[in-house]
C-alpha cells in the first residue's frame, strides 16, 4: 500500500505545475504576483527570448540564477503594468546591450546571422549537385581518347600479332 501511495504522489507531483519557490516554502507573501494567463504567457515568452547575463547560454526563463529570477520578476511587473513587448525588450537592450537578446534583431550586420546559413546551404547544395552530375555523366563516356598514341601502337601490334 505505501509503495502505491508513493507512486501515485510521484505521478501527481510530476504532472502538477511547478510552484514558485517562495509559495512552496511560505505560502502567505508570494513575491510572484499572480497574472492572468495571457499576461503570464507574454511574460514567459519575453523571458524566453532574453539571455541570462549569468548563465550565458540559458534564457532568463530557464536560468536558475538569482539575477535571472529577479529579471523575470521585473518582466512580470512590466507586463502587468501594461508595457509592450517592444518596450520591455528595449529596456533590457538599453541596459545590457543587444547581446541580451537570444535572437538578434534582423537588421544591419545581424542580417548575416539569418542569411548566411541559408546562403551556405544553397551554395553547398549547388556545388554538391554539380559534382554529382559531373560524376554520373563521365561514367558513360569512353575512358580513353581515340587518338591515344600508345593505344594505337598496341592495336597495331595486336593486329600484326594476330596476322602471324
Amino acid at each position: 500500500m505505501p509503495r502505491r501511495l508513493v507512486l501515485v504522489s510521484i505521478v501527481i507531483g510530476a504532472l502538477a505545475p511547478p510552484l514558485p519557490p517562495a509559495l512552496a516554502a511560505q505560502g502567505d507573501t508570494s513575491p510572484w504576483r499572480s497574472l492572468p494567463d495571457s499576461q503570464e504567457a507574454v511574460a514567459r515568452d519575453i523571458a524566453s527570448n532574453l539571455r541570462c547575463p549569468v548563465c550565458l547560454n540559458l534564457s532568463v526563463e530557464d536560468s536558475p540564477s538569482e539575477l535571472a529570477r529577479d529579471m523575470k520578476q521585473l518582466i512580470r511587473d512590466m507586463v502587468a503594468d501594461g508595457r509592450s513587448r517592444e518596450e520591455i525588450r528595449g529596456y533590457f537592450v538599453g541596459r545590457y546591450g543587444e547581446w541580451v537578446l537570444l535572437t538578434p534583431e534582423p537588421q544591419g550586420f545581424n542580417l548575416l546571422v539569418w542569411l548566411l546559413p541559408a546562403a551556405v546551404l544553397l551554395g553547398g547544395g549547388a556545388i554538391v549537385w554539380g559534382a554529382v552530375r559531373r560524376w554520373t555523366r563521365s561514367a558513360g563516356e569512353a575512358p580513353v581518347a581515340e587518338d591515344d598514341e600508345y593505344l594505337r601502337k598496341v592495336r597495331e601490334e595486336l593486329a600484326r600479332g594476330s596476322g602471324d
Partner: protein
C-alpha cells in the same frame, strides 16, 4: 585558368577573414550602453534604515559600487574604496555602495569587519542592478558631476583607475573615456550568488 580552384580559394579566404574578425574579438568584452548617458535614478533603503536618492548627490562625483559579502574580489577592492572615501573627504566625491543579492545582516557584518562608513543601499529585487546592466560583482560606475555615467569598471577598481579618473571627473563636468583609456583588469569577477534564505535576502523574495 582553373576557375574552380580560384573560387575555392576565394571562398576559403572569405571564411578565414570572417573567422579572423570574429575570433579576434574579446568574448568577455561587455557592451556598455550606459556610458555617456544619464545615470538611472533610484531611491533605496540603506543598511541603517535611511532612505537615499541618487539625486541627493547631484553635482558631485559618485562611485556607485555594486558588491556582496559573498564576493571575494570585493574583499580585494575594499581597502581602496576606504582610501578613496578618506582621501576625497569634503571634496564632493561620494562612495555609494549597493548590496547585490545579499542580506542586510551579512552586509552589515561585512562592513563592520572591514571598515568604511559610506552608505550602503539594499537593492531589493536587483532592480537597480538591472537598471545599470550589472552582470555580477564587483562593478563600479563612475558618475560625473553632470550626472552621466563616465566609466564602468567590471571587477575590482584599481589604484591606477582611481588616480587617473577621479581628478578628471572632479575637474571636468563632462568626461567620457574611450575603451582604450580603460586601465586595470578584472580578476575574480563573480557572477552568481549562492542561495539565500527565503526571507531577508534582497533577491525578489522579501
Amino acid at each position: 585558368m582553373n576557375w574552380r580552384g580560384v573560387m575555392g580559394g576565394v571562398a576559403g579566404l572569405a571564411l578565414v577573414a570572417l573567422l579572423a574578425f570574429g575570433l579576434s574579438r574579446d568574448p568577455n568584452a561587455v557592451p556598455n550602453p550606459l556610458t555617456g548617458t544619464v545615470a538611472p535614478a533610484f531611491t533605496l533603503e540603506s543598511l541603517d534604515g535611511d532612505t537615499l536618492d541618487l539625486a541627493d548627490y547631484a553635482g558631485g562625483v559618485v562611485l556607485l559600487n555594486f558588491w556582496a559579502s559573498w564576493c571575494l574580489a570585493c574583499i580585494d577592492e575594499h581597502p581602496l574604496l576606504v582610501q578613496v572615501d578618506r582621501v576625497y573627504e569634503g571634496q564632493d566625491v561620494h562612495v555609494l555602495g549597493v548590496v547585490y543579492q545579499d542580506t542586510r545582516s551579512n552586509a552589515q557584518r561585512w562592513m563592520q569587519q572591514r571598515g568604511g562608513d559610506w552608505p550602503n543601499l539594499l537593492d531589493y529585487g536587483s532592480r537597480v542592478a538591472i537598471a545599470y546592466g550589472v552582470r555580477g560583482v564587483p562593478e563600479t560606475f563612475f558618475i560625473g558631476r553632470d550626472g552621466r555615467v563616465a566609466f564602468r569598471q567590471i571587477g575590482p577598481i584599481t589604484p591606477e583607475l582611481v588616480a587617473t579618473l577621479i581628478p578628471r571627473l572632479l575637474a571636468d563636468s563632462a568626461v567620457t573615456l574611450s575603451p582604450e583609456e580603460r586601465v586595470g583588469t578584472s580578476p575574480g569577477y563573480v557572477r552568481s550568488s549562492p542561495q539565500f534564505p527565503e526571507t531577508e535576502g534582497t533577491t525578489g523574495r522579501r
